[in-house]
Amino acid sequence: MKARRLPDESSDARAGWLLTAPALVVILLIALFPLGWTVWESLHEHDLRMPWLGRPFVGLGNYLTILQDARFWQALGHTALFAVISVSLELSLGLALALAMNQAFRGRGIVRAAVLVPWAIPTVVAALLWRFMFDSQAGIANVLLSDAGLLHHPLVWFVKATTAWVPVILADVWKTTPFVGLLLLAGLQSIDKELYEAASTDGASAWWQLRHITIPLLKPAILVALIFRTLDAFRVFDLIYVMTGGGPGTSTEPVALYTFNSLLQNLEFGYGAALSVIVFLVTFGLAMLYMRGLGVDLAGPRGRR
């Protein structure tokens, strides 16, 4: 065998770029190009159903209209409400679930797998299921509540703004708590057992251990769960589309449903694109805020050892 000269650093870098080039091109094509196109589209008045209006360039006109659009602000409010309530419930229940699953008990493997079932059910199916359960006449929710003496008349959940949110949020919590639970469980298992042993030796209570060992060390996992869930909640669409359709009126309509409505139902490409860009900016901003605010590097402890 002939000895080969080691390649120098610059040709190494060139080879690196060359090797990543296909991936970069693909990312450019499937992520950045559509995004750029959407931004460009959002600067036009473009209504597919009204070709007589043409496709005039209107600059930030669509954005200015959105800022004065009461339905948009309401939708944003609904989305925020949904995100805050459902994510906090999912996180607290998920943590409890993770702590329980972290204990050693018989059949733990089966429990861990079974817990994933709600998560594995397609959202549309889960949404239909919950809608049936909250049906005013045949639904089990009303039966249980009246048997418990809490209801005198069957409640028609989906015709009141406040009550329509209850099944929606419950369905989301039911469906995604297991996901949060498993994410946190993975975090729990990476915590060194010796820390707890040492704390116990020093007489620390379980509550103290939870607050001073578990939660701080679980922070990266919590952050991942929080980001995933908040961004998902902010883009909530199918669940509400199936369960309430945004009603009654528009009182459960989230931003994604409003966007879908103007973009795909009404085919207002310009306005819908502007709405999509705003949703994108809001979710992007949220992700940034989390990363900064919680001071955790998503990629792990790299470079901070």
Partner: protein, 428 residues
């Protein structure tokens, strides 16, 4: 090597697809029909198309099934026509789409073939006319009507007040609901509301395109519907119901009245599925002082793609499918024929499930929804505010003022009125 191996597959697909369009090998002109083509509807259509091809040996018709869901089909058509696709040549249009497609320049004006518009009910022609030209031929019509229980009442109510009194009597006798209808936030809600609006003498839009739904008559109509809900005559659940949920309630004997389309008559007369089989009849929705008894017009019309390469062949198919023979055959499927003369044809009695005179009296009251290119968007705005008022979030007058303001803003933004005026000037 991999990419080379997989290349033939897309090529074969392209070859396959290109075989399907254009001229077949035998030199016949191929036209494509897009519409509902499943089940019984598909069988009737296939028979009719076979007869058409026998009568027109130079034309071959390809039937392309499109989704039965109106919203999905609409979306598909808009995408095709926006791309100026020449196919499908003949389009099955929901009655409210014609002005939209006409204004967009997506369907041909049929005036050049001089269709005999006078043979059809005027409401069905009005719905398919835009800026003075006819753009689609009515194929079959749907009308909103009142289903009433013959075991509870001796006759259908002659007025809204009578209907309210009847419902109270029936509920005292143990029938849970007075009247069920379609109250979910969708097009069905508007079709129901328009019948009350007509009954009280209101309308959505003036002939010159201004929104007047918040007139005193409109407010009276919406207040009346709101009272149906607040008095319990209509259960609150109705605000989440479409056609089928209301049919189930009526069919199980839970309601004295139901507002629905004609399709339910045959289904609910099957004794093993229906507790009201043989115990109900239909009538026109009643009127009220100041207005007229109104039946919202639904149904389908046939239009021709403006980008077709075979306009004359396409017209031949449209003419054939809407001819009296075919219309009669199609009436078995549930809708009513839009040709007036057919109601004097003794054969109609064999194909529709209700007495012909009754059917005629209802379809004569048919009122089209506003024939404007922006109907769907206007309807969506109206749906939201109607639903808010009916679910008790805002008062009826406030809801209609809000709706009218938003709808008028849309009329202004889309320059619809200028467009109609300029089209009318330019057409001979």
């Amino acid at each position: 090597m991999r990419p080379l191996l997989t290349l033939p597959l897309p090529l074969a697909l392209i070859a396959l697809l290109s075989c399907q369009s254009g001229r077949p090998d035998d030199g016949r002109t191929v036209i494509t029909f897009a519409g509902s083509a499943l089940g019984a509807e598909g069988e009737v259509l296939a028979r009719e198309v076979a007869r058409f091809e026998r009568a027109n040996p130079t034309i071959h018709v390809r039937v392309q099934h499109t989704p039965d869901d109106a919203t999905q089909r609409h979306q598909l058509f808009v995408q095709w026509l926006n791309a100026r696709a020449g196919e499908p040549d003949v389009l099955q249009l929901d009655v409210v789409w014609t002005p939209e497609f006409a204004a967009a320049g997506w369907v041909l004006s049929l005036d050049r073939w001089h269709p005999a518009a006078g043979d059809f009910f005027p409401s069905t022609i009005a719905a398919n006319t835009w800026a003075g030209s006819l753009y689609a031929i009515p194929w079959w019509m749907d009308v909103g009507m009142l289903y009433w229980r013959t075991d509870l009442f001796r006759a259908a109510p002659a007025s809204m007040d009578e209907m309210v009194a009847d419902m109270e009597r029936a509920r005292r006798a143990g029938v849970p609901y007075g009247i069920v209808w379609q109250g979910a936030r969708y097009e069905g809600l508007v079709t129901c509301f328009l019948e009350y609006l007509g009954a009280f003498g209101g309308k959505v839009m003036t002939d010159d395109g201004r929104i007047v739904v918040d007139s005193p008559e409109g407010i009276r109509a919406l207040t009346f519907v709101r009272q149906l809900l607040s008095s319990g005559a209509t259960p609150a659940e109705v605000l989440t119901w479409h056609e089928e949920e209301s049919r189930f309630a009526f069919q199980n004997g839970n309601a004295a009245f139901m507002r629905n389309w004609p399709y339910a008559v045959t289904i609910m007369n099957v004794p093993k599925d229906s507790r009201v089989a043989g115990k109900f009849a239909v009538a026109a929705m009643p009127g009220a002082p100041g207005g007229v008894s109104t039946a919202t017009l639904g149904g389908s019309a046939l239009g021709i793609n403006a980008f077709t390469e075979h306009a004359d062949a396409a017209w031949k198919l449209v003419e054939f499918l809407t001819a009296p023979e075919q219309m009669l055959e199609r009436s078995r499927l549930g809708g009513y024929p839009p040709r007036r003369a057919l109601y004097d044809d003794p054969r109609l009695a064999d194909v529709i499930p209700i007495p012909v005179a009754l059917a005629r009296s209802i379809v004569e009251r048919a009122a089209p929804r506003p024939a404007t290119p922006i109907y769907s968007q206007l309807s969506e705005l109206l749906q939201i505010d109607l639903h808010r008022a009916l679910s008790g979030q805002v008062a009826p007058d406030q809801a209609l003022h809000d709706a009218a303001r938003a709808m008028n803003a849309l009329v202004e933004r889309t320059h619809i009125r200028d467009l109609v005026a300029s089209r009318k000037r330019n057409s001979p």
